[in-house]
């Protein structure tokens, strides 16, 4: 039995057994359902092997939504635990595991993939391209992210979850203090997903720089595309740092190296530095695209072109550069001198300037606009004041001397949720509602959407505003319980109530998807929002080749100009189109990566070696394979086009 013992969860509880059963039953139900409806072939041909950026994007978003619920359940558990003083719902160890997985899942497996999903769907369309530069690589990226996420999630039921916080500071995350395999899961699953992200970064930089429609100079790109371009540059330079940090962590834990140990010359501060050299840019990886999404939505629904295009671009470039030189504000209190703290304090505060520029640009865009209050627009409008509050409290934290007082209190937790939730979650929800008709050919219900919007906005503020107060009062973060005499009880209860409101809001989104899929009208135009950029210039649903004829562009809003000023977007005539073939290799290779990761987590070397060989075998297969894609003939294109036109 010894061999199997290590797969057992170290601190089992009824919740864990219940989830084991739930996971088991769901898997059986899914497999049985697919078999019953004979959908294996369809699933394999149309989804698992697809290289179409639109489908990959949809899969990203589905996975991200799933993870939103996983992370959300963690959040509810935490808030339930702290809702009343001296609560015994979770013990200390479980609380540690829950806030760790919550943080990791939310940032790496929810926010970022959601953004990447939207960028997959929209960016090629916005630049008038037929696909991304490397479609096959794109599939690899997705499947690696997916397998990384799954590997991370099974830690809950096999072997134990990581418990050292999403920052995994050493020596806490070392073998001495984190004895279970939990932190191995952390290191290895993030590594697998991170490789996928890096490849996405490369892919989209090439796509945007080299595959734009004729006439679309850099300064004529839609703002969302700009934000994606900059984000991908951050990815390419930040993710290798994570790769190294995680590799060193893995070696410390599995092979007994001495990078982050307290003896033999190791340095725990090295971990903190490496982690945040990646970690701080990471928060901009999830925030900048949100800025892009809001820019698109605000100009669409204010019926006005974006105010200050150039300053928008410049401020994003400034933010991205600054994001690399502020990382030490995450550990002011860990013993740098005043000089170092001072420098990082100033660079951190400097970020407020370009961010302020953007806020004013959005306000000026709204100023003289004719505002239409759709669901995406509501999120964008709510974002502005809430995010500003998050930003202002961020500047408060940026002052090193003040930070000594309230770092690691609930004030910080309130701050970063006030930035991340309006900055990213509202944005992806807005973007998802906005681009939904392009993805699926019908609109989400505005009415249910507004209900969920209000639950989310109010729930959000009720959840997080009290944390500013308890934080200033001294309630520490990551503390699983507190005594009645502290007086934190009532506000924490309020916060729990807010969290339930948030949960209802998110549940309503799912209900909206269900309701609209069944009842919403399929008879919508290609451009249901009266929007401004190229993705709306093609049919709904989008044919696999995106555009029958490559569009020509001559302003930042070529599609708007084509509608209002009669500018001719599609000049050329239809020619045969080259498309890549589907491939099962990305999926299979990523499955092997999963096995590889699992084997490493449990130090099962023989399996790990076999899996490594398998991964290389896939790459060699790819190298020798002769696959130059296929052509869609002119007749086929015309037939598709006529059918799509007829549908309207």
């Amino acid at each position: 039995m010894d061999y199997f013992d290590r797969f057992a969860v170290p601190h089992p509880s009824p919740a864990i057994y219940a989830s084991m059963v739930a996971i088991g039953l769901t898997m059986i139900a899914v497999v049985a359902g697919i078999t019953y409806f004979k959908k294996w072939g369809y699933l394999w041909r149309e989804w698992l092997t697809t290289v179409d950026h639109k489908r990959i994007g949809i899969m990203y978003i589905l996975a991200a939504l799933l993870m939103l619920f996983r992370g959300g359940v963690d959040a509810l558990m935490m808030r339930a635990q702290t809702a009343i003083p001296d609560n015994g719902l979770l013990d200390g160890q479980h609380y540690n595991e829950v806030f760790t997985t919550h943080g990791v899942v939310m940032i790496l497996f929810m926010a970022m993939p959601f953004i990447i999903g939207l960028m997959n769907i929209v960016t090629p369309l916005q630049v008038g391209a037929r696909d991304v530069a490397f479609p096959r690589l794109n599939a690899v990226s997705f499947w690696l992210f997916f397998m990384g996420a799954m590997l991370f999630n099974i830690s809950f039921v096999v072997g134990g979850s990581p418990d050292a916080g999403w920052t995994s500071y050493f020596p806490l995350a070392g073998n001495d203090f984190s004895e279970s395999v939990g932190s191995n899961y952390y290191a290895i699953s993030l590594q697998i997903a991170g490789i996928g992200t890096l490849m996405t970064g490369i892919n989209f930089i090439v796509t945007i720089l080299k595959m734009r429609a004729p006439g679309m100079t850099l300064m004529k790109m839609p703002m969302f595309t700009w934000s994606i371009l900059i984000t991908n540059f951050i990815i390419v330079f930040a993710f290798p740092v994570l790769t190294v940090a995680l590799a060193l962590m893995t070696m410390d834990r599995l092979f007994g190296t001495q990078f982050f140990t307290m003896a033999n010359g190791g340095s725990d501060m090295l971990w903190a530095n490496l982690f945040w050299v990646w970690g701080h840019p990471e928060v901009y990886i999830v925030i900048l695209p949100a800025f892009g999404i809001y820019s698109e939505i605000i100009s669409t629904f204010a019926r006005r072109n974006l105010y200050g295009y150039n300053s928008m671009v410049i401020s994003m470039v400034a933010i991205s550069t600054l994001s690399f030189i502020v990382w030490a504000h995450h550990f002011y209190t860990m013993g740098h001198g005043a000089m170092v703290n001072g420098i990082f304090s100033i660079t951190t505060m400097a970020i407020a300037v370009p961010t302020g520029v953007k806020i004013f640009n959005w306000l000026f865009t709204l100023w003289k606009g004719k505002i239409v209050f759709t669901v995406p627009m509501l999120y964008s409008l709510a974002f502005i004041p809430i995010f500003t509050l998050g930003g202002v409290t961020g500047v408060m934290l940026a002052m090193a001397s003040a930070d000594y007082q309230y770092h690691n209190t609930m004030f910080l937790v309130a701050h970063f949720h006030y930035v991340l939730i309006p900055g990213t979650v509202f944005a992806v929800l807005a973007g998802f509602t906005y681009w939904w008709p392009k993805m699926f050919g019908f609109m989400l219900s505005e009415k249910i959407g507004k209900w969920s919007f209000w639950f989310i906005i109010i729930g959000f503020n009720v959840t997080f505003f009290p944390m500013f107060i308890t934080g200033l009062d001294g309630q520490a973060r990551r503390m699983y319980t507190y005594s009645e005499s502290t007086g934190y009880g009532p506000l924490n209860m309020l916060s729990f109530v807010g969290a339930i409101g948030l949960a209802i809001g998110f549940a309503l989104i799912v209900y909206n998807i269900y309701w609209s899929t069944r009842y919403a009208s399929r008879n919508i135009s290609n451009d249901p929002w009266d929007a401004r950029s190229l993705e709306w210039a093609t049919h709904t649903p989008i044919p696999e080749y995106n555009f029958a004829v490559v569009p020509t562009v001559d302003s930042t809003e070529a599609f708007w100009d084509s509608k209002k000023k009669g500018f001719k977007l599609f000049g050329g005539k239809v020619e045969k189109i080259h498309m890549p073939n589907n491939s099962g290799v990305p999926f299979i290779m990523s499955c092997i990566f999963f096995v590889w990761g699992f084997a490493l987590v449990f130090s099962m070397w023989i399996i790990a070696i076999i899996a490594t060989i398998g991964i290389f075998a896939c790459m060699i297969h790819r190298s020798f394979e002769k696959d130059h894609g296929r052509y869609i003939s002119v007749e086929e294109i015309e037939e598709t086009e006529n059918k799509l036109r007829g549908a309207k």
């Binding site: 490369i202 993710f239 190294v244 940090a245 190296t257 001495q258 033999n264 010359g265 190791g266 020798f624």
Partner: protein, 198 residues
């Protein structure tokens, strides 16, 4: 595939140009990766604990052999690409084989060196300095190893399929990779070995 005959074969199709550009960006990421490893090394270089220091370990002869092998191989792969541009398949393959043999030589010396270190009681677990040293050198060495396999497969493909836009594209990208490894080695040579021996 549209082939543009005014360009060298490796650049001649749209797909090829995208691949080369993408690879340059990948090299940007590789620079970030090695920069992080170097930074780690510099932070930990004095963390020798009870283990030996660099001054104690580093030897001139192995270093010289490694450097000569790798620098020469960068030169021969350049000749290989030149032959490729001239359309001379045999010469291309020849130069690639020489390149790989030199790479193999480099790797052999590196492995010999590692074994020596371990004999002297300097293992990757001994101290933070040695952990970072082995990791930095090992990552570079692993890249060379990967390159040996990669290069072999490219030679096989050129042999089988001749000099097509695809094979020349692969060969060219491989040469970029190989030059990059050489550049990294120059940094290792100067900032790890020379600095460590002084």
């Amino acid at each position: 595939m549209k082939i543009d005959n005014s360009l060298p074969l490796e650049y001649s199709t749209e797909e090829n140009r995208l691949k080369i550009f993408g690879f340059w960006i990948f090299l940007g990421a590789e620079i970030a990766l090695f920069a992080t490893l170097f930074a780690t090394y510099f932070v930990l270089v004095d963390g020798t604990g009870n283990g030996p220091t660099g001054e104690h370990l580093f030897k001139v002869p192995t270093l010289m052999f490694q450097t000569i092998f790798l620098l020469t191989s960068s030169f021969t792969i350049g000749l290989g690409i030149n032959a490729m541009r001239l359309g001379r398949q045999k010469a291309t393959i020849g130069f690639f084989i020489i390149t790989l043999i030199l790479g193999l030589g480099f790797l052999g010396v590196e492995i010999y060196e590692f074994v020596e270190y371990v004999h002297e009681g300097a293992t990757i677990q001994t101290s933070a300095f040695l952990s970072s040293l082995f990791t930095l050198l090992g990552t570079h060495g692993a890249h060379v190893t990967l390159g040996l396999f990669w290069g072999t497969f490219i030679i096989l493909q050129i042999k089988k399929r001749g000099m097509t836009p695809q094979t020349t594209n692969k060969a060219f990208i491989f040469s970029l990779y190989w030059h990059f490894l050489d550049v990294v080695w120059i940094f290792i040579f100067s900032f790890v070995y020379l600095k460590g021996m002084m």
